[in-house]
Every structure is written in C-alpha cells, then in structure tokens.
C-alpha cells in the first residue's frame, strides 16, 4: 500500500528536485507519446533537446533561444511576484499586447525623425502601457472586490481586439499596399531593438530580463516588500497583522507584472517581430504562467525554466519540420511538463510511505 504522510515542514531538497523529476517524467512519457505517433522517440527527443543546442545548425538556433526565452523570463518574473502573494494575474498576454502597441505607437509617432531618445521613450511607453492595462483589474479589485483572475483574463481578449483594430487602422503602414500591420520598426533605426552583439540574439529585452531576474531575487530575499509579498501568500491574516496593506500590494504586484509584460511586448515588437500586426502576439503571456510555476516562482528557477521552455519551442518547431510531428503533439508535450510538475509537487509537503503502517 502507498500512503502519503504530511511532512512537519516542507522539504527544501524536494523543492529543488521536483522540477528535475518533472522534466525526467516528461521525457519518458513524451517519448512514449512520440513512439505512439510512429516516430522514433529517441530521435524526437534528440531533435527537440539536443539539436537546437549542439546540433549541426545550432549556430542558427542558439540566438533564437535567447530571443524566445527573454520575454518568457521577463513576464514570468513579474507574474511570480503576484503569484507569491496570492494575486493571480492571468492577463499578462493582454498587458504584453498593450505594451507593444503603446511602445510601437510612440516610436511610429516620431517617424521618420531619427534621435537617440526615441528608443528609450518607447521603452517607457511600453512599460507604462502594460502597467496601465494591469491597473484595470488592480483598481477594480481594490475598489470593488472584483476577481482579478477573471478581469485580467477577459482583458486579454479586449487587447487582442485593440491589436486588430490598430493593425488595420491607427498604426497601419501608409506605404503597406493595404496589407494590415504597421511599418517595420527593424527598418527604422531609432526605434529598432537591435542586437547588442550581432548574431548572438542578445537584444535589449534579454538584458532587461536578466536585470529583472536579479531585481526579483533581491526584492524577494533581501527586501521587506518582498518579505511582505511572501507573507501575504503564506498567511494573509498574519500579513495584515504585520502591517501589510493588501490593497497596496495588489496594486504593486499587478503593476510590476503589467509593466514587465509591457516591456516584453515592446522589445518583441521593436526587435524580433518588427511590426504591430494582427497575429503579433504568440502566447508568451500564457506560457509565462507555466514558466513561473516551473521555476517555483523563484527568479533563478524562472531563468532556467524560461530557457527550457524556449528550447521546447525551438526544438518543437524543428521536430515539426524535420520529423513531421504535429504541432499539437508539441503542445501536449509542453503541457505534460506543467502537469508532472504539479503532480510531483506533492513530494515537497508529503512523504511517500510504502507498505503497512509504521511501527513505533
């Protein structure tokens, strides 16, 4: 018989071991899934995990890894603050879109003027856009007690409609032969989020993501505000007793999450994507939720989880094109990761006992 026994306190060892165990289980069951689809599981796993890093064309994929991971890490770091405090911002995708629209809009407003100040101004606008979009659920929650999960999620769809609208209207490229989408910012030097070192994939968004991780770490581990965030998540009544004002925390966590998501959107639209278009958003805001939990809501964990997630994206695309694996199979594979993580999480708080009862 198998029994679960609550630990007297959460195991630190397992808290770090469970993500690895989840990855391992995903590899095994993902392999079985690929085998069931008639592909050689080892080849499939090699294509996903090995080829992008060390394979023949790795020189092309490695920079991609940073490009894909940066927005995930940036958004997930912001979300993790809220999640730590029990504030559930599910709408990072919307904040990401609005950040991109505001940032790109700011840049395009100066077109064709050139100036050093344009890109920094866009960065500010991007962050501000995401921040303001997140303030909608924050203020509604603080003022009227609405549920931030629902409001932030619904605002994603509003943001998508806005994105479609500006792509076809306000921000449409006047010289675009009627195609939807804005001017390409990659061709507008002052607004282009170019690579800091050519060919590495290292653009300003990557740098910002790393800075965000460092700040997140310091905030959560060394600062009173971070302590209050964790305290609120662990024991809300104790947090109020300690003097935390819940409303301020809601505004702070949603605000930071929104601003970072907005930044991610801005760096994406002015760099890798290049233009505001109808299908500009690629689901980073939702995937970042998985990244945040995969990284145990810990900044360093998120950094690693973001890279891993980016790897499955890139590897998944290669597997689609070279092995003909369906896109859905890759998504199932990514989903497995989250499910296994949640499932093995129980080991952090519980101990497994085999056999009969314990003798005294």
């Amino acid at each position: 018989m198998l029994r679960l026994e609550k630990r007297r306190q959460p195991s630190r060892g397992w808290a770090w071991a469970t993500p690895l165990l989840a990855v391992l289980a995903t590899l095994v069951f993902g392999g079985l899934l690929f085998a069931a689809l008639g592909k050689d599981p080892l080849v499939a796993l090699q294509t996903i995990f090995y080829d992008p890093l060390l394979g023949e064309h790795a020189f092309f994929y490695r920079p991609q890894l940073l490009v894909k991971a940066a927005p995930l890490i940036l958004i997930a770091t912001g979300l993790s603050l809220g999640f730590r405090a029990g504030i559930w911002n599910i709408g990072a995708e919307g904040q990401y879109i609005i950040g991109a629209i505001c940032g790109a809009g700011c840049g395009l407003a100066f077109y064709p003027m050139e100036g050093w100040f344009i890109f920094p101004l866009m960065v500010i606008c991007g962050a501000l856009g995401g921040f303001l979009w997140a303030m909608i659920p924050a203020l509604l929650k603080v003022r009227f007690g609405t549920n931030e999960i629902l409001v932030s999620l619904m605002l994603v769809y509003v943001a998508e409609q806005l994105l479609a609208s500006v792509s076809l209207g306000l921000l449409k490229n006047p010289q675009g032969f009627g195609f939807p989408g804005s001017r390409n910012l990659q061709q507008y030097d002052s607004a282009h989020n170019a690579e800091i070192f050519a060919g590495t994939g290292m653009h300003w968004g990557v740098a910002t993501a790393l800075i965000a991780v460092i700040f997140g770490y310091i905030l959560l581990n060394r600062h009173l505000l971070g302590f209050h965030i964790r305290l609120t998540g662990e024991a809300p009544r104790a947090a109020r007793f300690a003097g935390v004002i819940p409303a301020r925390l809601v505004v702070f966590c949603l605000g930071v999450g929104g601003a970072l998501a907005g930044l991610a959107g801005l760096f994406e639209v002015s760099g890798p994507a290049g233009q505001v278009s109808i299908d500009f958003n690629a689901g980073y805001g939702f995937t970042a939720i998985i990244v945040a939990f995969l990284g145990r809501l810990h900044p360093v964990g998120i950094l690693l989880a973001g890279l891993l997630m980016a790897l499955t994206y890139i590897g998944g695309e290669i597997a689609q094109s070279t092995l003909g694996l369906p896109a859905a199979a890759i998504q199932v594979f990514q989903g497995m990761l989250l499910f296994f993580l949640l499932a093995v999480d129980v080991l952090t708080n519980y101990r497994l006992r085999f056999g009969g009862r314990v003798k005294a």
Partner: protein, 507 residues
C-alpha cells in the same frame, strides 16, 4: 466491581506518530453511569486516546472491549452505531442553517424536519438544555452551539458520551447548566468520558480520573478526595511554579479607549459597541468573556488591523485610532492574537522570518527596506533561548513547533520588544501548565517594568491570577472595569452575561 459494571475496557492502546508516541500502552475501565475524567497537559495524548475510541484514529496495538464484545471502530459511523458519541472542542456547525437543519445534516437517515424539531425540543427539555430548533446557528452563543452538539449526540441515545474540553467556551452559569445535564445523564446510566485540564471542575463533577503524561497513564485517582494541586503535579510531573508579583502603584495612563465603536467586517462577527477603558503603566487589565463576544475584534482594533476614528484609541496621550499596525508598533503598542498559526505566525515560514514579522521595526531589522537576516536570526535565537522554545533551530517552520512552544515564541517575540502596552488574546490557550506559568510570569515581569498589559482570556483562573483590574466582554460591550481582588465567581459570571439569554429549564 463485576464484569458487567464495565462499559468500556481499554487494554494497552498504543499509537505512534512519526517522532512521537502519542499513546503508550494505555489501559483504563469506564463503568456504567460513571463520569470519568481524562486529565493531562497538552500533548499528553488525551485527544489521540479519545479519537481511537471514536474511530477517528486506528491504534497500532492494544484492544478495546465495549459491553463485553471486542470493539474496534473503523470509522466514527461505526463508533456511533455502537453507542459512542462525542462532542468536540471545536464545533462543526453551519452558521447559515438553523439548529434542526444542522442536526439533520449529521444524521444518516434524518426524519422529517417537523418531527425532528419536536424531538429536539423534547430532548432539550428533558435534559435542561434550552434550545430552539428554529434559530439560526450563526446567532447562537458558544454555549448554545455546544448544546446543539450535545443534543445531536443525545438523539443517538449514546451509552458513552465523550466531551472534549466542553467548558472552555462557557460562562460559570452555563457550566452549571451543563453539569446538571451531565449528572442527569450519568444517573440514567450513560457513561461520560470528560476531558479537561480544569481541575476544580473535575473535582466537582467526576467520579474517577485517569491522568496521562507524555502518552502514558501515570495515575488514577478519585478527584473528590484529591486536591487540585496534587492532580496538577501528577499531570506536570514536577512542582508547579505559581507566578508571583509585588504590589506596585500603577503609573500614568498608557492606553485609553474612548467610546470605541467598530462594525465587525465578518458576517457573523461581533461589532464593538461603546467600549471605554484605560490601562496604566504597571498594571494588568484582565478581560474575560465567552469566545465570540468581541475578543478578536477588540484585539484587531488595538493592534491596528481594524481602524477606527483617531480619538477612539489613544496611546500615551496621542490619538492613534486611525493608524495601522506598523505605526502603532513603532510607538510601542504591541499585541499577540489568539490564533497562533496563520495570524500571529506564518505556518510555513521559518522562525527567523516569523521573528521578523513583528520585530522588524523595533528591533531595527531593516534599513531602507533592506533586511538584516543575520540580526533577525539573532533575535529569533534570543526569543528561543529566553523562553525555552523547544525547536532544533531558527530555520524550522513555525508549524513544526508544538502549540505550546509556538505560543511561547509568539508571546516572547512581543515581550522581548519592550512594549509600552502589550495586548494578548488567550496567551496560554492549549499550552501546558509549565509553559503557561512561564508566559504569565513574563507578562507580570513586563508590568513590573512599567508596561501596561491587557490580557484577554477565557480562562478565569488565569485572569484572577494575573489581573489587577477586571472586566468582561459580552456581545461586543465591555462591563465596568473593577478591581480584581475579591471578585466572586458569581459576580464574574454576571459580568460575562449570565447564562446567555435563557433560564435553566426543567432540571
């Protein structure tokens, strides 16, 4: 004593949990119609023992014989079917349903609501437990809620009724009603297993007492013929240290509460109404009251978790009613709430983090918001040392501590911060006698040093021991504050609201 006199016989019951043997070869006999006390400190194994009898916990070894037949209930349902009923310390009632509906919910096969209401009336009159089946449970006092639980048990016509610390929520008058009921039941042949650590009660009520210490049965005695002090020493296994204090003239007024009115944010909470009192440096003000009469709200209003108009609360002459916990703490108004886990301390956080929780301002554990973890650890270490908190170290989670040890930590954390005013709610609830003495002594020492101490408690013995002045909370109102010396139990009972509305009926 013949075989047939014995209702329940327990032989060598043993139950071990990881790291602790809760019951170690416990044997006892409960006679028919006997009121049998189960006595012991917290953690002595009383709860585990009754949970095994009630089928909630399975023993590792040992056996029970009920009515001459082997008895090994796999679940409470089976225990109830064999005639064992239990009234828990914490009630499991739904506030939004009425009495009859609550009782029906616990029944396997409830009769029609009208018939049930009729039976509830009959039983409650028969045993002198006034109870109206149509009233909403949310509006009942703790004593009335307990009656709901008792009537629920009596409807099953039990042979053995287990009562887990039933009087902790009752006024002295309500205790009298309860005891009359229990005596009547025992006269009719129902056996009662009565768990308590209130010794005087056991001396008046019980025929026989079994004393547990650290999971083992250490003695049996006839409570009527044994002094409370002797029983206490059997429980603790050492000589008791009674707090002592030197009489001292009170200093200036430290805390003044003026016509404090706050509506409770909780639906079935108690709003505070026109509360007026002041405490001087060097004195201890004891506030009695049955649970749920505004204790939590008063603590929140004083700690700053609930805000009022500025002039309603003054500290050293400054109006602070509108200031939050942080500002009040900085001035020296500290508090320790009743609920240890989740309110006074964060269960999954380490003791260092929990020391930081309230100590950050006064102990200088931060600068510009950046935390000094080393200093926080030293602070936690100092609390653990001074209050003899039993734990392997400062990095252990709060919930890994036993209730008594965590309570020492939580109270110690505030005491060590040299408060100007300290408000504590139920400072020794669920704490063993030795730890309780340490905590009370620390509160008295604080007062000695010029702190104004407010002790909110449901334990009247405790209040009588530490208080200079005394008042009681009743439905959110505070009685007149009177000197504690020379108060009789009857006077206190009346201050606490008497027998809550209804008279003792048909005993």
């Amino acid at each position: 004593m013949t075989e047939t006199d014995i209702l329940l016989s327990i032989r060598g019951l043993t139950k071990a949990y990881p790291g602790v043997v809760a019951n170690d070869g416990v044997s006892l006999d409960i006679l028919r119609g006997e009121v049998h006390a189960l006595l012991g400190e917290n953690g002595a194994g009383k709860s585990t023992l009754v949970k095994m009898i009630y089928g909630l916990v399975k023993p590792d070894s040992g056996e029970m014989v009920l009515n001459g037949a082997p008895f090994a209930p796999a679940e409470p349902q089976a225990a109830r079917a064999s005639g064992v009923a239990m009234v828990f310390q914490h009630f499991s009632l739904f506030d939004a349903l009425n009495v009859a509906e609550n009782i029906a919910l616990g029944m396997a096969d409830p009769p029609k609501m009208r018939d049930l209401a009729q039976r509830i009336r009959e039983v409650s009159e028969q045993y002198g437990l006034p109870l109206d089946p149509d009233r909403l449970v949310g509006n009942l006092s703790a004593g009335e809620r307990q009656r709901v639980e008792i009537v629920r048990c009596l409807l099953q016509d039990p042979k053995l009724l287990i009562m887990d610390e039933p009087t902790s929520v009752l006024t002295p008058q309500e205790v009298e009603i309860l005891f009359a009921t229990l005596r009547k039941l025992s006269a009719e042949g129902t056996s009662i297993l009565y768990i308590s650590h209130k010794l005087e009660e056991i001396r008046t009520l019980c025929d026989e007492a079994t004393i547990l210490r650290l999971g083992k049965k250490v003695a049996t005695c006839v409570p009527r013929d044994t002094t409370a002090r002797d029983m206490a020493e059997l429980m603790v296994g050492a000589e008791l240290h009674v707090p002592e204090r030197a009489g001292k003239l009170p200093g200036p007024v430290r805390l003044a509460v003026n016509r404090l009115n706050i509506a409770s944010p909780a639906q079935f909470g108690t709003s505070l109404k026109d509360i007026d009192f002041e405490v001087r440096g060097g004195e201890v003000l004891g506030l009695a009251g049955v649970a749920g009469n505004g204790q939590d709200e008063l603590l929140a209003a004083l700690s700053g978790e609930m805000l009022s108009s500025a002039e309603m609360v003054s500290f050293d002459g400054r109006e602070i009613g509108n200031l939050g916990p942080t500002a009040r703490r900085r001035m020296g108004l500290l508090s320790a709430p009743e609920e240890r886990l989740g309110h006074a301390a964060a269960p999954d956080m380490s003791l260092t983090e929990n020391a930081l929780l309230t100590g950050v301002e006064r102990e200088g554990l931060e600068r510009h918001g950046f935390l000094y973890w080393g200093k926080a650890r030293d602070f936690a270490e100092a609390i653990i040392k001074r209050f003899d908190v039993r734990t392997p170290g400062t990095e252990n989670a709060a919930r890994s501590l036993s209730g008594g040890n965590l309570q020492k930590f939580v109270i110690g954390r505030e005491v060590m911060q040299r408060p100007g005013v300290l408000v504590v709610n139920q400072p020794t609830w669920g704490v063993d006698a030795a730890a309780a003495a340490v905590i009370r002594q620390a509160l008295l020492d604080l007062a000695e040093g010029g702190t104004a101490v407010i002790v909110i408690s449901q334990d009247l013995d405790e209040l009588m021991e530490v208080s200079d002045r005394f008042a009681a909370l009743n439905e959110g109102r505070l009685s007149t504050v009177v000197p504690a010396k020379g108060l009789s139990v009857e006077q206190i009972g009346l201050m606490m609201g008497g027998a809550h509305g209804m008279e003792v009926a048909h005993v």
